[in-house]
Amino acid sequence: MERAVPLAVPLGQTEVFQALQRLHMTIFSQSVSPCGKFLAAGNNYGQIAIFSLSSALSSEAKEEILHFSLAHDGPVYSMVSTDRHLLSAGDGEVKAWLWAEMLKKGCKELWRRQPPYRTSLEVPEINALLLVPKENSLILAGGDCQLHTMDLETGTFTRVLRGHTDYIHCLALRERSPEVLSGGEDGAVRLWDLRTAKEVQTIEVYKHEECSRPHNGRWIGCLATDSDWMVCGGGPALTLWHLRSSTPTTIFPIRAPQKHVTFYQDLILSAGQGRCVNQWQLSGELKAQVPGSSPGLLSLSLNQQPAAPECKVLTAAGNSCRVDVFTNLGYRAFSLSF
């Protein structure tokens, strides 16, 4: 499945350039199609590639990948799928694409929106996108330290949530309340109530001695929440928090800063600097460490779409041009490559 550059081919200028591009590619974001059969991946050159999971997993092992380059001018930091659209965001704007159109080449974006920024000197990036299904709205957060809410039907920006002092890395949705959690470079995890548009709770992770690691910094790189519980990591250690009491309950013993974390069944999956996808029990024990093919991972995606149970896989991508596919959480089955 991996496309290796054949050593015998004489490398002209274009081949060398393409090889160098692939070496220095970083895949920041992934998203699964609503039908569950396709995976979209966005990289630092602004390209979005669509991989066909169903044909990659099928017995013919036919790899199908449709490119379209330069979806964005800058890197594609975050992507999310609704039931018909793919929303991708990078340098300052969010674009929408129709999943049905994306499978053909030369697809054009459906619309693009830019939230109202305060400064115009440098266009801030959008690091995280979050869908709030109950309100049919999209929350964007990134370089300008604010959370913007955009209504998906009308496209207008309804709310602005201010409070972070440095740029925002990640978002998570607490469905019950509904509340949004945001983690940022300033080291704080803030909870916002969507109905009142106010900050409800702040957890400054670096101030807690058990989890802070000053040599890494105080930034929160990843967040995941399970209503009462929240797990966050980054500069400080990966910690499980009880939200109501704002206390850290479990600290996961891993030294490398984690860039992505998610709850899965009764496990917590995390990935970050280092090759492996780590699987943790809620008690803090490391259940398994499955190595991938990239030296560092930035995003994990679990395909849990009910429409395609045969494509139920975990995909991991990061500091390389490859997306690792784990069909069974125990080992890496194969990799898809840009």
Binding site: V5, P6, L7, V9, P10, L11, G12, Q13, E15, V16, F17, A19, L20, Q21, R22, L23, H24, T26, F28, G74, P75, Y77, L121, E122, E125, N127, G143, Y167, H169, C170, E185, P214, H215, G217, W219, G221, K259, Q273, P295, G296, L298, N319
Partner: protein, 682 residues
């Protein structure tokens, strides 16, 4: 009485000779009416039915009489004998009747048979007639068909069409009035006309033949005249030599060169012609000369029809001589030398570049292997002090390596050579490349030799069109190659002294103050490069072949040491050098454990086009090195301060940056913006 006469005749006799006898009798009967008794006539008269009744009655009577006699005999008695006698007489009479009846029956039978026979004969006669007639009918039919199918020869002749015939034929042949109505006459007339025409044409043909003979004779005469002209023209040319020299028009010299060129083998000849043409038309800095011994060439090359005999002769001679030699090794050595023999003539091309440096190329042709090789030498206007690291840059062995991607010149391009090598035990041509020259693919193309990749080439086809199309590109590439190598040469001299030479027109790419310094610049062997732990990605991607040149640069600032391993592709400056970094500061950071180091590599490797500078981009390497210094500065100054460690930051931030970190991987601002002078993210 009649019964007596008939009694005499036995039944058998009646059949055989009864007929003619009877016939005679019958005839005589009719002549002498009723003299003889004829039983035949009686047969006609009697009714067969009644005869049959009579027969049955007689048989019955006989049976009755026999029964009565039996009775009487069995009874016995005297008067029985008389009755028996009576009855006996009666039975005799009956017997008579029976006999007669038998005769009559026989006669009837015979008559019937005769009649049948006659009738049959008649029928046979008719049948025979019928057959004859049928046969005749068939015969006639065949004849008719034959006649109908008859094709006379005249139908095979293509006659002119009717309209033409009537137009062209003179009236005494066409006879329109007669022929219009009568197709037979028409055909005859047409045949006549055909004959007329043919006769006329035969006449013309004879005339033309005689004309041709005459003209041929005239041509002969003129040829002789011209051939006598040639020696006179030569003498005029000789006489004009001093005039040529006086007027500085070296026609003769060019002529002499063309003369020598005639003895060149086909690929070298193609190269010579194309190069001279190119030099005259496009590029005045190209000069072409032929070197070598013409006499040897003449001795070697005879017209192609004789060459095969010559080769076989020389083979035979060689076999004889080799049989005399004692050792096998020496034999093999000689065979190898023979295989690798060069043609005595070679073509020399001199390419002059703008800065007065000259690239000397000498092209050789290996006769038995059918390939061309080249030896290169670069001479500069001034004496060059070669820096240590630049040793390989201009070496004759590698200066032309990979002019086109993948063309390393170590393997013979002619697939047929492999079989030849196997016979004499040569493993590969690369062992002999130093003395024979490099068989690059572009050299073969300049000589018009085209080697298709799949099949070995049997004959040497030197193609002018192939050479012509490649000449311009190759010359340009050669010039660029020499110039970029010389530029690198100069730059290396400066790099070894720790100064990164940035020209003034590239100064805008970098900020004014760059604190990190280049401390070391050395060459590294290919194997050592492969062993380095931070170069695995490049090796795996296939970008670190053995035709590349490898260097190691060391950039320092304070306690931070940045090692950069450089891969320099022979196609430098169109193919960028590739850098891999390893930073030693507070631990070892490489692209596998630090995203920012990876980003720095990306800045130099992927975004190299910004650093190319004005064309030709000889400044690429130095700009990349300068950029690395700037990137190291940014990296060290924007490192977030660790609050738990005491003491001030080692590198205070002096660069102007809008934001220190951006994006999920928290990238440092590596992009320099000119002329505002601040750093931002890509």
């Amino acid at each position: 009485m009649s019964s007596e006469s008939s009694k005499k005749r036995k039944p058998k006799v009646i059949r055989s000779d009864g007929a003619p006898a009877e016939g005679k009798r019958n005839r005589s009967d009719t002549e002498q009416e009723g003299k003889y008794y004829s039983e035949e006539a009686e047969v006609d008269l009697r009714d067969p039915g009644r005869d049959y009744e009579l027969y049955k009655y007689t048989c019955q009577e006989l049976q009755r009489l026999m029964a009565e006699i039996q009775d009487l005999k069995s009874r016995g008695g005297k008067d029985v004998a008389i009755e028996i006698e009576e009855r006996r007489i009666q039975s005799c009479v009956h017997f008579m009747t029976l006999k007669k009846l038998n005769r009559l029956a026989h006669i009837r039978l015979k008559k019937g048979r005769d009649q049948t026979h006659e009738a049959k004969q008649k029928v046979d006669a008719y049948h025979l007639q019928l057959q004859n007639l049928l046969y005749e009918v068939m015969h006639l039919q065949k004849e008719i068909t034959k006649c109908l199918e008859f094709k006379s020869k005249h139908e095979e002749i293509d006659l002119v069409s009717l309209e033409e015939f009537y137009k062209e034929a003179p009236p005494d042949i066409s006879k329109a009035e007669v022929t219009m109505g009568d197709p037979h006459q028409q055909t005859l007339a047409r045949l006549d006309w055909e004959l007329e025409q043919r006769k006329r044409l035969a006449e013309k043909y004879r005339e033309c033949l005689s004309n041709k003979e005459k003209i041929l004779k005239e041509i002969e005469v003129k040829k002789e005249y011209l051939s006598s002209l040639q020696p006179r023209l030569n003498s005029i040319m000789q006489a004009s030599l001093p005039v040529q020299e006086y007027l500085f028009m070296p026609f003769d010299q060019a002529h002499k060169q063309y003369e020598t060129a005639r003895h060149l083998p086909p690929p070298l000849y193609v190269l010579f012609v194309q190069a001279t043409a190119y030099g005259q038309a496009c590029d005045k800095t190209l000069s072409v000369a032929i070197e070598g011994s013409v006499d040897e060439a003449k001795a070697l090359f005879k017209p192609p029809e004789d060459s095969q005999d010559d080769e076989s002769d020389s083979d035979a001679e060689e076999e004889q001589t080799t049989r005399r030699r004692p050792t096998l090794g020496v034999q093999l050595d000689d065979k190898r030398k023979e295989m690798l023999k060069r043609h005595p003539l070679s073509v020399m091309l001199d390419l002059k570049c703008k800065d007065d440096s000259v690239l000397h190329l000498t092209f050789y042709y290996l006769m038995n292997l059918n390939i061309m090789t080249v030896k290169a030498k670069v001479t500069t206007a001034m004496e060059l002090i070669t820096p240590i690291s630049a040793g390989d840059l201009l070496s004759p062995d590698s200066v032309l390596s990979c002019l086109y991607p993948g063309d390393h010149g170590k393997k013979t391009p002619n697939p047929a050579n492999q079989y030849q090598f196997d016979k004499v035990g040569i493993l590969t041509l690369s062992d002999y490349v130093l003395e024979l020259g490099h068989p690059y693919l572009w050299v073969q193309k300049l000589g018009g030799l085209h080697f298709p990749k799949e099949q070995p080439q049997q004959t040497v086809i030197a193609d002018h069109s192939l050479s012509a199309s490649h000449m311009e590109t190759t010359m340009k590439l050669l010039k660029t190659r020499v110039q970029s190598r010389l530029a690198l040469h100069k730059q290396f001299a400066s790099l070894e002294h720790g100064i990164v030479p940035v020209t003034s027109d590239c100064q805008y790419l970098f900020p004014a103050k760059v604190v990190s310094r280049l401390v070391k610049w050395v060459t590294v062997a290919h194997e050592d490069y492969m062993e380095l732990h931070f170069t695995k990605d490049i090796v795996d991607a296939g970008l670190a072949g053995d035709t590349n040149l490898y260097y190691m640069a060391l950039i320092e600032r304070g306690t931070a040491k940045l090692q950069a391993a450089v891969v320099l592709n022979p196609g430098y400056s169109s193919i960028p050098p590739v850098f891999q970094l390893c930073l030693n500061w507070k631990g070892e950071k490489t692209n596998s454990n630090d995203d920012n180091i990876r980003a720095m590599e990306g800045e130099v490797n992927v975004c190299y086009k910004e650093l190319c500078g004005p064309w030709p981009s000889h400044q690429l390497l130095t700009n990349q090195l300068q950029r690395l210094c700037v990137l190291l500065d940014v990296y060290l100054e924007t490192e977030s301060h660790d609050d738990s460690v005491e003491g001030p930051k080692e590198f205070p931030q002096e660069k102007m940056c809008l934001r220190l970190f951006r994006g999920p991987s928290r990238m440092k601002p590596f992009k320099y913006n000119h002329p505002q002078g601040f750093f931002s993210h890509r």
